[in-house]
Symmetry: C2
Subunit: 261 residues, 2 copies
């Protein structure tokens, strides 16, 4: 698929519909990013008030999910989209579910942050959470960027980072168990850390899901439940074969393939 | 919506498409139910081998998710469905994501069951897990039943049970923390229990989501993020108003409204 497929559509009203939906998803994504930033900030700063702001953001995120859902249904019902346009709409329906669930996890993090703020802080001041939190925040931002530009190459790159997140998660998890066993007085604090790191790890999963929907929209290929390296190699081979037949080299996500964001 | 809306459709091929998709979702649901049964059985029996069977079921569940997804896309692209048919397809697209994630949680439970099988079993033999596990298994079965019969009344009832699950979850969670603090030697076992009960609680959330999609299909109303009692009251009022205008009483899910399953 290429940007022309979306922009040179016979119906300009239809294009406006798609553009509006895309813009709404990015707006919802922006809200989710801000909420995650505030929730993680709450852990870092030990400020319990963050939980109120995050809960308000969560309400707004839920409203946006419903309104984008309705918008997609209306466009599906009235415009009978096909090919890339249809895939984009299906991808949006799924993406907003993942964004909403990132919002849920963000709210959980803020709630635990408020709890942590009320108890004694460890000397490390949750440094390990800061690192994995930054990793996952970047994943969310880049997944939304891949969605905005329909950039499958970037989507593959971001999705692969989920492994690093899983490794960090496992390491922090093991460390927490060690702390608990060594000093039972740290049990509550270690559990709080474990729940936060679990929520962060889940947000990484959701960001990866969004990347997979981008790849599906661009290539029409469902890469869930397959090794990302295998899926990427397969798509590169298909592109090379197409190039051998058609002449000019087709890149996975050429620069001209980006939509204005 | 009523059963006639689906069965007396102008295109009989289209009806066959919808029926096939519905049947596939129920087949996928059956697989998920069996997998959950096996995973929970693994905790009960202390049989570590269950993890292999559950992993195989998980592969099959993932395959079904992809194939139903493709089927829905094809029908959306070729049949331009509207109204209830469109809502059913959107509901299916979302339902299979939740079913697949129940499969993920089932696999996690089986993995922890294998871990538990290798360690000393508590005298209670995880009785508390058996209870919440049974609660959630019934929720999944009834949610699929509500989907099969497009029975919004049942969907409301099942969705409301999620609160009981959350309360059980909180109780077991608190109990685990108490055990850990009293006897640090139980930390690992208590953590295993906490992760299992967390996975079970999440399965309850997914079953509730499926119920919400059933209500959306039947009534065209998005009841996510609203109190279920408020949504149900609102729908009953709308039905009563419609009855006052139209004459005969319209029930929320009359017996004649059930599809053959």
């Amino acid at each position: 698929m290429n940007a022309e497929g979306l922009t040179h559509h016979t119906s300009s009203r239809f294009n406006e519909d798609l553009e509006r939906i895309r813009a709404s998803v990015l707006e919802m994504g922006g809200l989710v990013e801000r909420q995650l930033h505030d929730a993680l900030g709450g852990i870092d700063s030990g400020d319990a008030h963050v939980v109120v702001a995050v809960a308000q953001q969560e309400l707004r995120i839920n409203q946006m999910e419903r309104s984008i859902d309705e918008d997609c249904s209306r466009v599906l019902a009235t415009r009978s989209p096909a090919a890339t346009d249809l895939r984009l709409l299906i991808a949006v329906l799924k993406t907003i579910t993942d964004l909403e669930r990132i919002g849920d996890e963000g709210e959980k993090i803020a709630t635990i942050a408020a709890h942590m703020a009320a108890s004694e802080r460890p000397r490390s001041r949750y440094r390990e959470l800061r690192h994995i939190g930054a990793l996952v925040s970047t994943m969310v931002r880049d997944a939304l960027d891949a969605f905005a530009r329909l950039d499958a190459d970037l989507a593959f790159k971001v999705a692969r980072r989920d492994r690093t997140v899983d490794e960090e998660y496992e390491a922090i998890h093991r460390q927490c168990i060690t702390f608990m066993m060594e000093d039972p007085r740290t049990i509550r604090r270690a559990l709080d850390t474990m729940w936060v790191v679990r929520a962060i790890e889940r947000i990484g999963d959701h960001a990866k899901n969004i990347c997979e929907y981008v790849i599906y929209t661009v290539h029409g290929k469902d890469v869930r439940h397959t090794r990302l390296e295998d899926a990427e190699r397969e798509l590169r081979l298909a592109a090379a074969e197409a190039a051998a037949v058609a002449g000019p080299v087709i890149e996975l996500s050429p620069a001209g393939n980006k939509l204005p964001s």
